[in-house]
């Protein structure tokens, strides 16, 4: 039997064959760990499924970038006539999780002073969004003794998505706290700790599970300052991945940004790249207001430049990822990646699209939206989420109410389909927003 490198997580495409724990000629039992495989997330153990003998190891230990599906060993399975390998390569049904191109690097340009949204200078250290978030937390924990992290699997397991990797080692169990699966309870406990003078960072394994806790986010955290006449603040960060991941179906794939962005008393942030993830998370931890900080699992592994040294990004300011005079694409979080890919495609047709990343969804940087609209007179809002009552709907209202005279065409929204996210690969692809949808929308208003 040919042993192929399996996909060991929903998003894994390749891995490093870190070590073989068996050699040629060894017999193996079911469940025996035969190799260690490293992905960007973690080191994982590869187990034998059946009893047999290792005939040959085809990929030497230490090999990087081994693609899922590569034959890594030959095993003679006990007591079974050699059956032709059941399935060939991954079927077309299971194409890579998301048809998104990596974002093109932002063109360098002189920073423009506020209030206009500005292009950020390139340069700095390359790191993943995951590392940037971790560094933001670590730096703020070093800076402020009141800051602590709490959530499911954040400490010993190093985070379900490895965002808190290494924090336990550095800060210990007093400040990196594993909770039971009790979202409602620990979100409320976090609010109480914030009221009591601490600065909690509450991680939800994903925001799907924050629905268990949403009463505390909205009724306890968001309303404290107002109800107490400003006497009591609630400095807390609720953070975790939000939006669709890969093939995890309806209950694990939704964008809650519009829900939270509707609530006065909350700050809502949804960054796209690593620099913003780091700079905005640091600002979120420092602000005296409650923050909902929406990350994206598919972006965790992407690498970007992050400025060296202390890097803070102000809350409430949008960012221009690219300039263009024909149309403005407004987006946030992973939608920015879609918008950038669409802009690159449009460029080939000679259409110059400006890409504006909202970054903060509440308060919304209306000035930046209107300034860009005044330059391009056309706007398309790109959102990885449902169309109805969306952030896109809000941006369109801003354009209508305050930018009407600048509009040369209706503002369109390009979003996911208005359905719970399906599991089947083809249906999931059809449901999610993609660059070609954006390109089509832009053409229709030019």
């Amino acid at each position: 039997m040919e042993l192929r490198l399996p996909a060991m997580s929903p998003t894994m495409e390749e891995g490093t064959l870190a070590a073989w724990l068996v050699k040629e000629g060894d017999t193996v039992r079911p469940g025996q760990v035969i190799a260690e495989v490293e992905t960007d997330k973690a080191t994982m153990e590869l187990e034998a499924d059946e009893a047999g003998t290792i005939v040959a190891l085809k990929v030497p230990a230490g090999t990087d970038g081994v693609k899922v599906g590569t034959v890594i060993a030959e095993i003679a399975v006990d007591g079974e006539a050699p059956r032709p390998a059941a399935a060939s390569q991954p079927a077309s049904a299971s194409a890579p999780p998301r048809p998104l191109q990596p974002a093109p690097g932002a063109p360098a340009a002189a920073p423009v002073a506020r209030p206009a949204a500005a292009l950020q200078p390139a340069g700095g250290r390359r790191m993943t969004v995951r590392e940037a978030l971790r560094d933001a937390m670590a730096e703020e924990m070093h800076r402020d003794e009141r800051v602590f992290v709490m959530g499911e699997e954040v400490a010993h397991y190093q985070g379900a998505y490895k965002v808190t990797q290494g924090l336990l080692e550095t800060f210990g169990e007093r400040r990196v706290v594993d909770t039971p699966i009790t979202e409602y309870g620990f979100a409320g406990l976090g609010v109480g700790a914030a009221m009591g003078g601490l600065r909690p960072i509450v991680e939800f394994m994903t925001f799907n599970f924050a629905m268990q806790a949403i009463d505390h986010i909205i009724n306890s955290a968001a309303k404290t300052s107002y109800m107490s006449g400003g006497q009591m603040r609630c400095p807390i960060v609720f953070r975790g991945p939000n939006g669709a991941a890969a093939r995890v179906a309806a209950q694990h794939s939704q964008n809650f940004a519009p829900w939270y962005a509707a609530v006065p008393g909350l700050v809502v942030i949804a960054p796209y790249d690593a620099a913003d993830a780091k700079g905005l998370l640091k600002s979120a931890i420092r602000t005296p207001d409650p923050v909902v900080f929406l990350e994206n699992e598919l972006l965790y592994g992407r690498s970007f430049d992050v400025p060296e040294g202390e890097h803070l990004v102000p809350i409430g300011r949008a960012r221009l990822h690219r300039e263009g005079r024909d149309v403005t694409l407004v987006s946030y979080s992973i939608g920015v990646e879609v918008a950038l890919a669409a802009a690159a495609e449009l460029e080939e047709e000679g259409i110059e699209a400006e890409v504006l990343d909202l970054r903060t969804l509440r308060p919304l940087d209306e000035a930046a939206i209107l300034a860009s609209l005044a330059r391009t007179n056309r706007m398309v809002v790109v959102e990885e989420g449902w169309p109805r009552c969306s952030v896109a709907a809000e941006v369109i209202a801003v354009a209508m109410e305050q930018g009407f005279d600048d509009l040369d065409a209706p503002v369109l929204r390009v979003t996911n389909a208005d359905v719970p996210l399906p599991y089947a690969a083809n249906l999931e692809r059809a449901a999610l927003v993609k660059p070609s949808d954006v390109v089509r929308a832009v053409r229709s208003i030019l």
């Binding site: 060991m8 760990v33 153990e45 059941a86 049904a93 397991y157 268990q212 890969a246 694990h252 719970p420």
Partner: protein
């Protein structure tokens, strides 16, 4: 050996306690049926793991390997269709033990139109109203009040049905579980709460997450009797099921079964498994495996020979291979399916 919650309670004005369960004595055919079902689940899950590795299954995929005796012993005691079953996302075994065709389960895993949810639900979201299987839920703990609601419906209709509500040791810490316990006992709902204590919730062992780690006692302050059962022995499970179902069907209200079990594989397919040692897993596999145990007893009691059991294994493998081929070859859903079944009605 089952262990009972320490206290007894007063029911309808007299003292009554859950009787001590006895290990089930199966007929030869019954024992072979248990063996075959456990093996079917094991082989099915192994195959699902392989298909995941080949990219034919995506997303989260939680295997039931090691826990087969629990669902096999319990499901054998109920009547699919009359009684109701609900569980979490680790649901493939529950589907199979409820008598659902492995091909439509596997086709759901590969996201094909022939899948039991037409490919729209995937591993975590499978349902069969016909067989009284109500999911397949991805939110930890959410199935517990749903199970009590199914029991409420049985009581309301007076149809004599019982709701089997499965959840994990980690789920047992969710607040809604205790809100449910209170209502279930208050209203004497016909529900069996089954905690599948496989000792870990992702990477967190029970004692790192639970102030009371003897989970069969978790119903005490709601006056719900609890039994702790060896969930690695299908006959112990089947014996406890009799006691629990008699209790619940006689109108005495809910009961709690803590099934002590173990999962051999990672939590899902992306588990680095650093929270337990390889030796620990290997030890359980070697000392407590429910299938090995059944196999030994079946042979020792002369119910079947080793060769006869091997023939069963071959038949099961063939059934699973066929399910996998079916699931690989079945077409994907039509794109028009994207927008169907969001609502039942059009407005």
């Amino acid at each position: 050996m089952a262990r009972k919650a320490a206290r007894t309670k007063e029911v309808e004005g007299r003292f009554d306690a859950v009787p001590e369960p006895v290990r089930h004595s199966p007929s030869p055919q019954e024992y072979l049926d248990f063996y075959r079902m456990m093996l079917l689940i094991r082989r099915f899950e192994e195959k699902a793991g392989q298909l995941y590795g080949m990219g034919l299954i995506g997303g989260f995929c939680h295997l039931y390997i090691g826990q087969e005796a629990v669902v096999t012993g319990l499901q054998a005691a109920i009547t699919p269709g009359r009684d109701s079953v609900v569980t979490g996302y680790r649901d493939h075994g529950h589907m199979l033990a409820n008598g659902i065709d492995p091909r439509v389960v596997m086709a759901e895993l590969t996201g094909r139109a022939a899948g039991i949810s037409r490919g729209k639900g995937g591993s975590m979201h499978m349902f069969s109203v016909e067989k009284g299987f109500f999911g397949g839920h991805g939110i930890v703990g959410a199935q517990v009040p749903i199970g009590a609601g199914l029991a409420f419906a049985h009581k309301y209709r007076g149809d004599g049905g019982v709701a089997l509500t499965y959840f994990g040791d980690g789920a047992a810490n969710q607040g809604q579980v205790y809100e449910t316990f209170n209502m279930a006992e208050l209203w004497k709902l016909p529900v069996v709460f089954v905690i599948e204590n496989n000792q870990y919730a992702m990477g967190t062992s029970v004692n790192r997450a639970s102030a009371e780690d003897q989970l069969y006692r978790r119903g005490e302050s709601f006056r719900i009797e609890g039994l702790q059962v060896d969930g690695m022995d299908v006959l112990e499970v089947r014996g406890a099921a009799t006691v629990a179902l008699d209790w619940v069907r006689s109108g005495k209200g809910p009961i709690l079964l803590e099934m002590k079990t173990y999962r051999y594989r990672g939590h899902s397919m992306s588990d680095p498994a650093k929270y337990r040692t390889r030796d620990e897993v290997q030890h359980v596999r070697e000392q407590q495996d429910p299938i090995d145990r059944a196999q030994r007893e079946i042979v020792a009691q002369g119910i079947a020979t080793e060769d006869e059991l091997k023939a069963i294994d071959r038949a099961v493998r063939a059934e699973v291979a066929e399910a996998a081929d079916f699931a690989e070859q079945a077409p994907e859903p039509e794109l028009s399916e994207l927008v169907t079944d969001v609502l039942a009605e059009t407005y």
